[in-house]
Structure formats: structure tokens, C-alpha cells
């Protein structure tokens, strides 16, 4: 059986490219708002060139072989940039799939073969382009997952700041849901800061924690217990009325920890305990002459 695809791609490169571009530009799925015609043309040309080069090797099935490496790299770049531009995965994959039509019509037009051979060739090309199209989806997904993972890491770091409020008083404003991963990060950061700053008091503010269930409470109590073992006491502040009610309904016992409604109250309490400067200076700012 002769495989005319490499030859067709070489000989009719320009016709195929024209038809493909025409096809893409007139397609329903074209996103003129996201990508310009020139960009689309460059992408298409690059793909066609690399694909044509790869196909010349005669390998028309295994896209993981070294001949296809440039094609895959190009598709990776392509998929990643399309993902950033806001294309959906199917729109991204359509780029490759839409190449089938011009290729098939070129195959049909070449006319040197009988029907059985034509079908055979088409199915080979079909399978090959399917694989490449799916590959773009895969890369798309992977790049999205990377973004998600990076954001998660950033959030983890961003959401656990330990602030030194006063000499010997730390504040830990918690924001977001507390799960076991975050609790361990929070715990480690807090304990390390306690050691570093020699602080005897830590205010854990849970104003930004949306819900407190038994698990979150357990995590909080663990943190408090660990800080206590090191010789630092914790105050939990920022308990909203609803959360106080939930805690009582869930029979969460916070009697071992000092709790205050607001961070301000907690700070006042902490200053009083540590014997810090809590006296308000009632000096007349405008003294008489």
C-alpha cells in the first residue's frame, strides 16, 4: 500500500494551508475576540510545517516517537497559550481536528488510488490527528492543574502570617477553611515564631474562618495544646455569634482556652497579663500655659 499523505503534504502544502485557514476562519467556533487572523495563520503554518516534517519519516501512528517531538512541543506551547488566552479545551483541540477536512479533501483530489486505499489512508490520518488533538487537551488540562496547584501553594503561604503585635504577643489571623494540611502549616509557623520571638502569648483570630465544625475545633485545640507545651498561652478571638452558637451545639469544649470576642479585647487581655503598658495616658494634649 502506498501512503500518499507525506507526498501530498509536500506537494500541496499551500493549497492545504489555504483551505485549512479558510475553514478555520469561517468556522462557528472561531473566536475572533481572542485571537487575530495573523496569529491563527502563524500557528497554522507552524503546525503544518512541523507536521509535514514529522510525517515524512513514514511513521503515521506513534506520536510519542522522536520524529513527532517538535510537533508535540509546538502543540504544548500552543495549548498553554490558548489556555491562558481563555480558550476552552474543545476549542483548543478543534484547531487540530479542523485540519482533517483540508487533508482529506486533498487526499480525495489526488485521485491516484482506489476507494479502499483512500479509506485506509483517511483512517490512518484520522487516527493520527485524533491523537494529536487529544494531546492538546491533555496539555491544556495539565497546565490548568499546574495553575491550581501553584495557587493552592500561594494561598497556603499567604494565609498563615504570624504577626508580632507587641513584645511577647503574637497574632495569628486565620482566614479560610482550616483543614489538616493548613493546620499543620499554621501550627509549625506559630510554634517556630514563638521560639524565634520568645513570645508567651499568641492570639489566634478566627474572624476569617467561615465555619467551625468539630474537626476545625479539634485542629485549633491541638495548636493551642502544642503552644502550651512550649510554654506559650493562646487566646482565641474573633468568634462570631453564630459560631459561638454552633460550638455550643456541637459541644465543643473550649474551656481550656481563653476566648475573647474581638482581637482588641484579646490584645487588652494579653497586655494586662503580660504586665505591658496598658495604662491609657490621659494627658491633656493642649496644656494651659
Amino acid at each position: 500500500m502506498t501512503i500518499p499523505i507525506p507526498k501530498i503534504l509536500l506537494n500541496q502544502r499551500n493549497e492545504i494551508l489555504q483551505e485549512w485557514l479558510h475553514h478555520q476562519l469561517s468556522a462557528q467556533t472561531r473566536r475572533a475576540d481572542l485571537i487575530s487572523e495573523a496569529e491563527l495563520r502563524t500557528d497554522s503554518e507552524r503546525f503544518l510545517n512541523l507536521f509535514s516534517d514529522a510525517v515524512q519519516s513514514g511513521n503515521l501512528s506513534d506520536i510519542l516517537s522522536p520524529e513527532y517531538k517538535p510537533v508535540l512541543e509546538m502543540l504544548e506551547d500552543f495549548s498553554r497559550s490558548r489556555g491562558l488566552q481563555g480558550f476552552t479545551p474543545s476549542e483548543t483541540a478543534t484547531f487540530v481536528f479542523s485540519f482533517k477536512q483540508p487533508l482529506f479533501s486533498a487526499l480525495r483530489k489526488s485521485g491516484e488510488q482506489d476507494a479502499a486505499e483512500l479509506v485506509e489512508n483517511m483512517s490512518v490520518a484520522d487516527l493520527l490527528l485524533d491523537k494529536l488533538g487529544l494531546y492538546t487537551t491533555e496539555v491544556y488540562q495539565r497546565s490548568r492543574e499546574e495553575v491550581i496547584r501553584r495557587q493552592q501553594e500561594e494561598m497556603l503561604e499567604l494565609s498563615t502570617p504570624v504577626v508580632q503585635l507587641w513584645d511577647g504577643i503574637l497574632a495569628l489571623p486565620l482566614i479560610g477553611t482550616l483543614d489538616s494540611t493548613r493546620t499543620s502549616v499554621v501550627m509549625e509557623t506559630l510554634l517556630q515564631t514563638i521560639v524565634d520571638t520568645h513570645s508567651e502569648l499568641a492570639i489566634i483570630d478566627i474572624t476569617g474562618v467561615p465555619t467551625v465544625d468539630t474537626l476545625v475545633a479539634q485542629h485549633l485545640l491541638k495548636t493551642v495544646a502544642a503552644a502550651r507545651l512550649m510554654g506559650a498561652d493562646c487566646i482565641i478571638s474573633g468568634i462570631r455569634p453564630q459560631i459561638a452558637q454552633t460550638m455550643v451545639h456541637l459541644q465543643i469544649d473550649l474551656s481550656a482556652v481563653a476566648t475573647k470576642a474581638t482581637m482588641a479585647e484579646a490584645l487588652r487581655f494579653a497586655l494586662k497579663r503580660s504586665g505591658g503598658a496598658t495604662q491609657r495616658v490621659l494627658k491633656n494634649p493642649f496644656p494651659k500655659e
Binding site: S184, L191, V195, S199, E200, R228, L229, R273
Partner: protein, 130 residues
């Protein structure tokens, strides 16, 4: 056999644990400590574990027991300088050493002991919360 030295500082005893604890060392320490408390009429004991990087439930229990023994002999115990990793381990093991007082370092522990000895509390609550 190694022995853990017990230093006398004023009314207090200072024990610095720097080696891995095992059963015999622990019981030797408890022997020495209790007899020393009686001998010098110590009012407080500071156990410094700042150089311990690893603890297990055994050491946790040993600390709690030692503290209880000292209390029977009318001396308050403060465990000082626990490392963050150690604290996390103990909490994960479920040992919160609720009967043991803790402080960040020897200095703060000593301050704490002084406060307690000057102002004896009836209910034995040593956390110092008003």
C-alpha cells in the same frame, strides 16, 4: 552508667536533658531528683528539654510522672524549652501533659516558679490566668 546532672540554683533545681532517655536513665533521674528535692528542700524544679529533638510517648509520660512526684514533695515543676517539632509530636500522640507547667526558656521558667512560690494558690492552678 550515665547520670543526668541536677544543678541547684537557689531554691530551684535545674535538670537539663541532653541525651536520649531510656528506662533506666529515667528511673535513675527520678530517684536522684526526688532525693535531691528532699535533701535541699527545693521549691521548684526546672526540666530543660531544649536540646531534645525527638521525643516519644515514653518521655512524655516520664515528664508527667516526674512532675507529679515533685508535686507530692511540694515542689513545682516547669518543663522549659520544648522544640516546636516535639510539641507537635506530643500533641499528635495525644499527650498534652495537662498537669505540667511549661515555659519558653529557663529564665521564664524561673520567673514563673518565683511567682508561684511567692503567691501560693490553693487550687493549684498555675497557669497564672487572672
Amino acid at each position: 552508667m550515665d547520670r543526668i546532672p541536677i544543678l541547684k540554683i537557689g531554691d530551684f533545681l535545674l535538670v537539663t536533658i541532653q541525651v536520649d532517655m531510656h528506662d533506666r536513665l529515667a528511673s535513675a533521674l527520678q530517684d536522684d531528683l526526688t532525693s535531691k528535692i528532699v535533701k535541699v528542700k527545693a521549691k521548684g524544679v526546672l526540666i530543660d528539654i531544649s536540646s531534645l529533638d525527638v521525643v516519644d510517648s515514653f518521655i512524655g509520660r516520664m515528664l508527667a510522672n516526674t512532675s507529679t512526684m515533685a508535686r507530692v514533695l511540694d515542689a513545682q515543676t516547669v518543663v522549659v524549652g520544648m522544640q516546636p517539632a516535639v510539641a507537635i509530636t506530643l500533641v499528635e500522640l495525644g499527650l498534652d501533659l495537662s498537669g505540667v507547667h511549661t515555659a519558653l526558656d529557663v529564665e521564664k521558667g524561673m520567673e514563673m516558679l518565683r511567682r508561684h512560690i511567692d503567691i501560693p494558690q490553693l487550687d493549684g492552678d498555675a497557669s497564672g490566668q487572672p
